[in-house]
């Protein structure tokens, strides 16, 4: 019943789709307004985003810092390439773990879907190896709790 899809395409892409019961304008704002981003882009239970800097304009920079309150944390930086309110965002991002991962080029589309919005995120990694590394480890740091739960299940 999950509304989210996550799949790979070709050698270097990852495609994520998700539907929302809200207008493209609202979903777009939730992705560009720092006050809103800090409320949901958190990963597992217990993690917070103490720093959320977001200049939503072409060439603008953003920086998100996550912390688990127990001394663990990591951050992400990026730059906006293009913004078409409220339908499309193009940006480049990298995780700092603390060494920066290779640049991930991301296009996010917000398309009207009935009374809601279909969001499609298309990530392009520099090569197949980088994409594999991202899928295997890149998001692990933000998902410690899920990881521990999974270990408990096995």
């Amino acid at each position: 019943m999950s509304k989210l899809t996550l799949k790979t395409e070709g050698d270097t892409h990852v495609i994520v789709t998700r539907r929302f019961n809200a207008s493209p304008e609202a979903v777009y704002r939730a992705h560009t307004d720092p006050e809103l981003i800090q409320k949901w882009l958190l990963g597992p239970e217990g993690w917070t985003m103490p720093v959320c800097i977001n200049e939503a304009k072409p060439g603008g920079k953003f920086r998100y810092e996550w912390a688990d309150g127990k001394g663990h944390g990591f951050y992400l930086t990026g730059e906006y390439v293009a913004l078409d309110p409220y339908s499309r965002i193009v940006h480049v991002e990298r995780m700092h773990l603390p060494d920066p991962t290779p640049d991930n080029h991301v296009e996010t589309r917000f398309d009207p879907d009935g009374a809601g919005t279909l969001m499609t995120i298309r990530m392009t990694l520099p090569d197949a190896q980088t994409r594999s590394a991202m899928l295997a480890t890149g998001m692990e740091h933000g998902m410690e709790a899920s990881y521990v739960r999974l270990e408990g299940m096995i």
Binding site: S2, K3, L4, L6, D11, V16, R18, F20, N21, A22, A26, V27, R29, A30, L36, K39, W40, L41, L42, G43, P44, D127, A128, Q129, R131, S132, A133, L135, A136, T137, M139, G142, M143, S146, Y147, L150, I154
Partner: protein, 113 residues
């Protein structure tokens, strides 16, 4: 099972093609080399990577060493991707709640949070 090794094993198109072939049933190195423009040693090298990553196993049958997909290995990768999906879904569930709250204050003016 080492997920790093499994995902980097999958980063190569020949190895993905080998896995796709093995998904149809077990095969020997000779059979696997056939559709590829590659020598047997080259295929063996790829198989070694896949075996070390826990994605392929071999059994002994006389002089033959047929390879097959490792169900446990494939399952571990599936589980990992399912968990990734779950973690993303968790963020978006929170966003659903936030979006529901964003529409409401518009209707109820003066209802500051």
């Amino acid at each position: 099972m080492n997920l790093d090794a499994a995902f980097s094993a999958l980063a190569d198109p020949t190895r993905r093609a080998i896995l796709a072939r093995l998904a149809k049933g077990e095969a020997t190195v000779l059979e696997l080399a056939e559709p590829f423009d590659m020598t047997q040693p080259a295929i063996s090298q790829h198989l070694k990577v896949l075996e070390n990553a826990g994605l392929v196993t071999r059994r002994v049958e006389g002089t033959r060493r047929p390879r097959r997909l490792s169900k446990a290995g494939i399952q571990a990768m599936d589980d990992w991707l399912a968990m990734l999906r779950k973690a993303l879904e968790r963020n978006y569930d929170r966003l659903d709640q936030l979006l529901a709250g964003m529409e409401e204050p518009k209707k109820k003016r003066g209802d500051k949070r």
